[in-house]
């Protein structure tokens, strides 16, 4: 049986106690997308600004709102650090690596993805041993994915 120390690693608790990039951005120019986990009621809001178009667009700012458990909150906090200032192509690669690490089926990895360094996000690896918590860990990433869609394909 995996122990709680596999789940609640110190770096996760640090991001939970002191979440990075919490707050709001003005919309527009930012896009604002809500995500929730219907199972437990966790709610997250991603505010995002990008500069440029397509895969070369760069995330210029990101902020997180909402409430959730230590896993969903710390995952969101780490995510903001991982994507800030990064081009969309790189973010998508990290997202594929991360979701694969979470044991999510059907993620098609690109050739170069194995090179991607997950950095702090590796700390969430222990979540896989607690299957009901995987949804908590990927909530922010799924919401980011929707936010990127909205930012890159604005409805006229």
């Amino acid at each position: 049986m995996p122990g709680l120390e596999d789940l609640y690693r110190e770096i996760i608790l640090d991001h939970y106690r002191t979440p990075r990039n919490r707050g709001e951005l003005e919309t527009p120019p930012a896009v604002k997308i809500d995500g929730h986990n219907p199972l437990c009621g966790d709610e997250i809001t991603v505010y995002l600004t990008v500069d440029g178009t397509g895969d070369d667009a760069v995330v210029t700012d990101i902020k997180i709102g909402g409430q959730g458990c230590s896993i969903s909150q710390s995952s969101a906090s780490m995510m903001t650090k991982a994507v800030m200032g990064k081009p969309v192509s790189e973010i998508n690669a990290v997202m594929r690596r991360f979701k694969t690490m979470m044991g999510i089926d059907g993620i098609e990895m690109a050739d170069a993805d194995s090179e991607v360094d997950l950095g702090e996000l590796e700390a969430l690896q222990g979540v896989v041993k607690f299957p009901v918590r995987i949804k908590c860990a990927v909530l922010s990433w799924n919401t980011l994915s929707n936010a990127l869609d909205a930012a890159l394909n604005p409805v006229e």
Binding site: C40, C69, S70, F130
Partner: protein
């Protein structure tokens, strides 16, 4: 003497199942209850000796199975003091029973602008079917609010019931434990010319239920919360109302005759039971009712009132301002359900830490998202007790909460 050790010994999962070599502290009966040996045995022995179709075939074995299935209906009628077993309709669960009322009675009797009154402490099962009807035909939904201690605020009841066609409410909140004055609410509904519909899912397993004394029109509940199997639920309704209603779902068993041009319906309750029902489950349910009757519903309520007092006192005493337990403090109007928030910890993290100690609780919105909004929280942790729980289970919960503080260093 209410002998919890003796009762617990009749539940194989509670005595034999271990995780990490330790017994389970099962505090999630508000979600679903564990099953006594008697229910498990009744179901397997029925399948081994008497299983056959019901209501369709004329051989002796089929007659036997039909009788066993109908014995479930009789047992339920006896348990809730229904005037006739024919007024008990078997469904899949309480949710389906509520949908049956909203879709069959509601579609036939409610028109645009008609008013349905609910309370802010309803389970989604008593909200969404009405909201579906509201989308379909623009009925108006009004909400009875709550007092600060989580009881129904009935100060403006007359106003809310003005022109209402339905008052539908829970006889015990699955989040707050609140037990509202059901008989009084049914009378108020009738005085306003409205139907009284009771979601008794949390009430029937823990209390003496008398649908005639309530004078309700419909009462819905589920087998799986009262020591019976999952997969079968009940709608009790007054015969004249059931009789006048159109069917809910169509198919075999619910018809009188079918031609190329149309159909006529079977009498109640078959009219509302299309297809092959949960036969084995009805047999298990009958065994569950007998099990509960042997112990006595009044005794179960007595035991749970004492345990509720103990739980409220223990948790408040040990954790003071660090814990917020929702719902009334008076155990006369509250059942054994404890939703709480603990320090700044998220319920998911609380339940994770408790799970490490084999303490099984539920974290989340408990299918009552509007109520969470009223309480001003996103989620709570909920412990809920039943006849097989005792003070040691509450102590294990409290010890587990102590552990949570250490891990999160708060």
């Amino acid at each position: 003497m209410f002998d919890v050790a003796q009762i617990r010994s009749e539940f194989p999962l509670l005595t034999d199942r271990t995780i990490d070599s330790e017994r389970l502290v099962y505090l999630d009966s508000g979600n679903t209850s564990q099953k006594p040996r008697r229910v498990i045995d009744a179901m397997s022995s029925f399948m081994e000796t008497s299983y056959a179709p019901i209501n369709r075939s004329s051989y002796r074995l089929a007659g036997e199975a039909t009788e066993a299935y109908e014995a479930g209906r009789t047992a339920i009628a006896r348990l809730v003091n229904a005037p006739s077993a024919d007024e008990v309709v078997f469904t899949k669960n309480a949710s389906e029973a509520m949908n049956l009322v909203a879709m069959a009675w509601g579609r036939a009797n409610l028109a645009t602008g008609d008013v349905v009154v609910l309370t802010e402490m309803e389970h989604h099962a008593n909200i969404v079917p009405w909201q579906m009807l509201a989308q379909e035909r623009g009925i108006e939904i009004r909400w009875i609010g709550l007092t600060p201690d989580g009881q129904l605020d009935l100060s403006n009841l007359d106003e809310l019931l003005d022109r209402a066609k339905v008052l539908s409410f829970t006889a015990m909140s699955n989040v707050l434990g609140t037990i509202p004055p059901t008989k009084k609410l049914c009378a108020a509904a009738h005085a306003a010319g409205a139907l009284a519909i009771v979601d008794a899912c949390q009430f029937v397993p823990h209390n003496v239920t008398d649908v005639q004394d309530w004078n309700a029109d419909f009462v819905a509940f589920s087998s799986h919360k009262m020591c019976g199997p999952s997969g079968i639920g009940m709608l009790w309704g007054k015969m004249e109302i059931l009789d006048a209603m159109p069917p809910f779902m169509g198919g075999g068993n619910m018809i009188d005759t079918v031609t190329f041009d149309g159909f006529t319906t079977a009498p109640v309750p078959a009219k509302f039971e299309p297809g092959t029902p949960a036969i084995t489950e009805a047999v298990g349910l009958a065994a569950a009712v007998e099990f509960l009757e042997d112990i006595g519903m009044a005794n179960i309520r007595q035991h749970e009132m004492a345990l509720t007092r103990y739980a409220l006192d223990t948790l408040n005493h040990r954790f003071g301002d660090d814990i917020t337990i929702y719902g009334p403090d008076n155990v006369e109007v509250r059942g054994g359900v404890f939703s709480f928030t603990f320090r700044d910890l998220h319920p998911h993290d609380v339940s994770q830490v408790l799970d490490e100690k084999n303490v099984c609780v539920r974290a989340g919105h408990h299918c009552a998202k509007p109520l969470m909004k009223t309480l001003g929280v996103n989620a709570t942790t909920r412990a809920s007790v039943y006849l097989y729980n005792d003070e040691s289970d509450i102590d294990a919960l409290a010890d587990g909460l102590d552990g949570a503080t250490d891990i999160f260093g708060l």
